[in-house]
């Protein structure tokens, strides 16, 4: 068990390194491939009245002339021991964990990320509670009443759910529920839970519902398929033959078996969502990690984008790791494999 955990941990760390290297390469290699020079990169960090000498100086100070792998190494080192950035007016300290330093706002990226995380976390947790509850129950009912009107309606509804882009449902939701009816908060409002839980929930209600609509559709389909698969298995028949009550058979055996693959997918989905519910946050103007990334792209603030991407990858990897470890606890066969 211990060796298994260590092996998974090691794999996760390697994965993170690869993801970060690839991300880094995109930002520092791709622009070069298409004709950017260290100077053009540096012009982003100096004002409108910069002379070529200033640009050159800044490019040197920021190490844009170094090979990419040297720059990457420096960046990784910053995460562990912090880094110093010299942008001209003095040396700026970016304490560990230094996820980069924005030259547009002149702030280390890490505190920003910590600041945005609660918003995305609130969004992800609330929505996942909704979609798990709604998706699983719909899936179970559909599986048990297979072929019924209810089943067909639920499956039709969920197929529609997965086919609707979230930015469309979000916009329609805002138009109808917020603007026309005034039931939900308009876009752009967010109050931290610690300040006012009521306002917090009010502002997030529509984003939760919209996210949950999409995900519960997927989960209903998955649950239904999983239940149907297991209900045909021998041990279910055995359980029935033993005279167990129908409800116990369905819930204890059927649903539990169907839950395992759902757990995997949930881990992945939740991790991805934490890494930035980009579209939802964009539609509702929620100041979370996803909007942070989009805003950073628009202002060409690459260190921020790099920071978010790595953080997002971190959540996906961690979520996978947790799912793996849970499996190992639940199902001893996994440890050997």
């Amino acid at each position: 068990m211990i060796t298994y955990i260590i092996r998974r941990l090691f794999a996760a760390v390697v994965l993170l390194f690869i993801v970060s290297a690839a991300t880094f390469a995109i930002f520092y290699l791709v622009p070069r491939l298409v004709g950017s020079t260290p100077e053009t990169l540096a012009t982003r960090y100096v004002g409108r009245a910069a002379t070529p000498e200033t640009v050159n100086l800044i490019a040197h100070r920021l190490g844009f002339y170094d090979p990419v792998w040297v720059q990457y190494g420096r960046w990784i080192k910053g995460i562990f021991v912090g880094a110093n950035y010299d942008y001209g007016a003095g040396v700026e300290r970016c304490p560990a964990p230094c996820f980069g330093y924005s030259f547009v706002t002149r702030q280390p990226v890490w505190p920003d990320l910590l600041d945005r995380l609660p918003v995305t976390l609130s969004l992800a947790i609330g929505a996942s509670v909704l979609w798990l509850g709604f998706g699983l129950s719909t899936g179970v009912v559909s599986a048990l009443r297979r072929g019924s009107l209810l089943d067909r309606a639920a499956m039709g509804f969920s197929l529609a759910g997965v086919s609707l882009p979230i930015f469309f449902t979000g916009m329609i939701g805002l138009l109808v529920f917020s603007y026309k009816l005034g039931w939900t908060a308009p876009g752009g409002t967010y109050t931290p839970f610690t300040e006012d839980p009521g306002q917090w929930a009010y502002a997030l209600l529509l984003p939760w519902a919209v996210l949950a609509l999409q995900f519960s559709a997927q989960y209903a389909r998955l649950t239904r398929a999983g239940m149907l698969d297991t209900m045909g298995e021998d041990y279910i028949r055995t359980a029935r033959a033993k005279g167990l009550r129908e409800r116990d058979v369905n819930i204890k055996h059927g649903l539990r078996a169907a839950l395992t693959p759902i757990l995997t997918i949930f881990g992945l989905d939740f991790g991805l969502l934490l890494g930035g519910a980009v579209l939802t946050e964009q539609v509702f103007s929620l100041p979370g990690l996803g909007k942070y990334a989009v805003d950073a792209i628009n202002t060409n603030d690459l260190p921020k984008v790099l920071g978010v991407t790595l953080m997002a990858a971190f959540f996906v990897v961690i979520a996978n790791l947790i799912v793996d470890l849970l499996y190992a606890v639940v199902d001893p066969r996994v440890r050997v494999g």
Binding site: G88, Q107, T189, T299
Partner: protein, 585 residues
């Protein structure tokens, strides 16, 4: 239009009248001349809306983006200059008065306007006594000198205005007090005593008082200066000081106990504090303004398209708005370095073929966008002359016949192909480019649209002459607002060919007329305001004759008037509500 007359008495009188009207309960509608309480369209344009002397309360503001910076040495946005007067006192300031008077500078930290000597090469200011920083120490001339010098360091403050380093007689290679520590700067600024500051210029500049009104003259105590980090705690010299300051999120101001009303004739300091939220969704700001939950959109550029329909369509809501004209021109540069636009007839074809109504609609129509422009100078700039060299037909949608004639004269009777650049992040510029693509196609001029990132627009693309030439950027969208409302403040950066840098970065991309450069030099050297102002119109006309600028609209903004506040009026200097006089009604 001679607004900048030297008759200061008139201004003082108007101010006195305003104060008395307010003090004696000028809520009377019939009074009419200086104040009003009747909520109607444009009620706060030239009058004080809802006058009151009531103190207390907190004013709530929101910004749909981040504040560029609250550091007086670097901030370069009109709204920020307007707001900064709450926590900082520069030598001079724009008068907090409605109407044309608001365009005049008035002494703030200084006792009087600048006293020129040596033919306009030396300017002396006397400081008021008893003005204190928030920590109780007295403001000295050296603090102002230090503030100006630190703002010169463009590595620390890359985005700040660059007028002082342009005009002051600084030592060669001077890079500001951080890098050129201990360098003697007496050739540029001297402080003979604690309450006198003298500026020494390289050449005569009649309009130096405008520079003395820049926030860069707001005193900064050297001991408390932390360079680029100073924006985290700016030391106040005004009636309010920073309470909380969460960069990128929000900040608040509270009363500065060391500010003394006796030293300050301009400020009333009515509310107890200000709360500013940053990065708030723009549509949400409009909704909250309309419901009264929020007082001001601090940026002051007006409502979003979604709210426009609501506001204009509802008479009750429209009565709650003001529609000022801004000292800002949205235009398109026609680059003569790109063939066949090197031929003036081809440039004229563009001028004639452009659909001006379409241009206006792209910016938001006559209310939210602005008025159709035919000149470079907006009408509110002193010296503006009205003329239209390229009439766009009866309905302002372009004169196709004249455009075709010009094309024929250019030797391109079937039109030609060229590229048009715009800032990708700006929907209005995108709409403009699409509109021009449509209207020019009528005469066979085919435009390929090229979106560029806003951050590098001038440094690498539209303002980079070799790039423009190599990539055949015949047209590029552009916009310019004056740093202050005067011909020099408006024209110098966009029509002087000497500001064009081969390495990029200039807002002027297309105007290279030696005669215009000479005309500008002659105007700058003129110390008589009226004579100087009379020279801007001809410069405008000369540039238009070359057809290198296609004027689009003189910008206007439709602003939602705060419901809850008193003393609301539009400042002509900033073309938005004056933030200094507001109170909570």
């Amino acid at each position: 239009m001679i607004r900048k007359s030297k008759v200061l008495v008139a201004g003082t009188a108007a101010l006195a009248l305003l104060l008395s009207a307010a003090a004696c309960g000028g809520n009377d509608d019939t009074d009419g001349s200086t104040s009003t309480s009747k909520a109607e369209f444009n009620a706060a344009m030239t009058k004080v809306f809802n006058p009151s002397d009531k103190k207390g309360g907190t004013i709530k503001l929101a910004n749909s983006g981040d504040w560029d910076t609250v550091d007086p040495g670097e901030t370069y946005y009109g709204y920020s200059w307007n707001f900064l007067r709450l926590y900082g006192r520069g030598l001079l300031m724009f008068k907090p008065t409605p109407g044309a008077e608001g365009n005049k500078v008035t002494p703030d930290l200084a006792e009087g306007l600048g006293v020129p000597s040596d033919g306009g090469k030396t300017w002396t200011y006397k400081l008021r006594k008893g003005v204190k920083f928030e920590d109780g120490t007295e403001v000295k001339a050296a603090d102002v000198k230090y503030a100006v010098l630190r703002s010169i360091d463009k590595e620390t403050f890359p985005n700040g205005p660059a007028y002082f380093e342009g005009f002051l007689n600084l030592p060669a290679n001077y890079k500001g007090p951080y890098k050129s520590k201990g360098v003697n700067t007496d050739s540029a600024i001297t402080t003979p005593d604690d309450s006198t500051i003298v500026f020494h210029l390289k050449s005569a500049f009649g309009g130096f008082d405008y520079l003395a009104a820049l926030p860069q003259t707001v005193p900064v105590p050297e001991a408390k200066d932390t360079g680029a980090k100073y924006k985290e705690h700016v030391v106040s010299s005004g009636p309010y000081m920073f309470d909380q300051n969460n960069l990128g999120k929000n900040f608040s101001l509270k009363r500065n106990p060391n500010w003394d009303q006796a030293t300050d004739p301009n400020r009333k300091a009515l509310p107890d504090g200000y709360e500013v939220s940053l990065n708030v969704n723009a549509d949400d700001i409009d909704n909250r303004l309309l419901s009264g939950d929020l007082d001001l959109d601090v940026v002051g550029t007006g409502v979003q398209p979604a709210a426009l329909g609501r506001v204009v369509g509802d008479p009750a809501l429209k009565a709650q708005t003001d529609n000022p004209v801004l000292a800002r021109l949205w235009y398109t540069s026609i680059n003569p370095t790109v063939a066949p636009l090197d031929n003036i007839e081809c440039r004229k074809a563009v001028e004639f073929a452009a659909d001006k109504t379409g241009y206006q609609t792209a910016y938001g129509g006559p209310l939210a966008g602005g008025d159709i422009a035919t000149t470079i100078l907006p009408p509110m700039i002193p010296g503006y002359e009205k003329f239209d060299l390229y009439p766009a037909g009866a309905d302002n949608t372009g004169d196709v016949d004249k455009a075709k004639a010009a094309l024929a004269a250019c030797g391109q009777p079937n039109g030609f192909e060229t590229n048009m650049g715009y800032r990708a992040e700006r929907p209005k510029e995108k709409a403009t480019a699409e509109s021009l693509q449509q209207s020019l196609a009528r005469v066979g001029i085919k435009l390929t649209l090229k979106p560029f990132p806003q951050g590098d627009y001038f440094s690498q693309y539209a303002g980079n002459p070799p790039y423009v030439k190599a990539n055949k950027l015949g047209l590029v969208t552009n916009g310019w607002g004056a740093d202050w409302n005067d011909g020099f403040g408006f024209l110098s950066q966009i029509v002087d060919s000497r500001v064009i840098r081969e390495t990029g970065g200039s807002s002027n991309t297309s105007v290279r007329i030696p005669q215009v450069d000479q005309m500008l030099d002659a105007a700058v050297a003129e110390t008589d305001t009226a004579k100087r102002d009379a020279q801007w119109g001809p410069i405008d006309k000369r540039v238009m004759e070359e057809a290198v600028i296609l004027p689009g609209v003189y910008a206007k903004s439709l602003m939602i008037r705060p419901k809850r506040l008193s003393n609301v009026f539009v400042s002509e200097a900033y073309s938005m509500y004056d933030y200094l006089s507001l109170g909570v009604a």
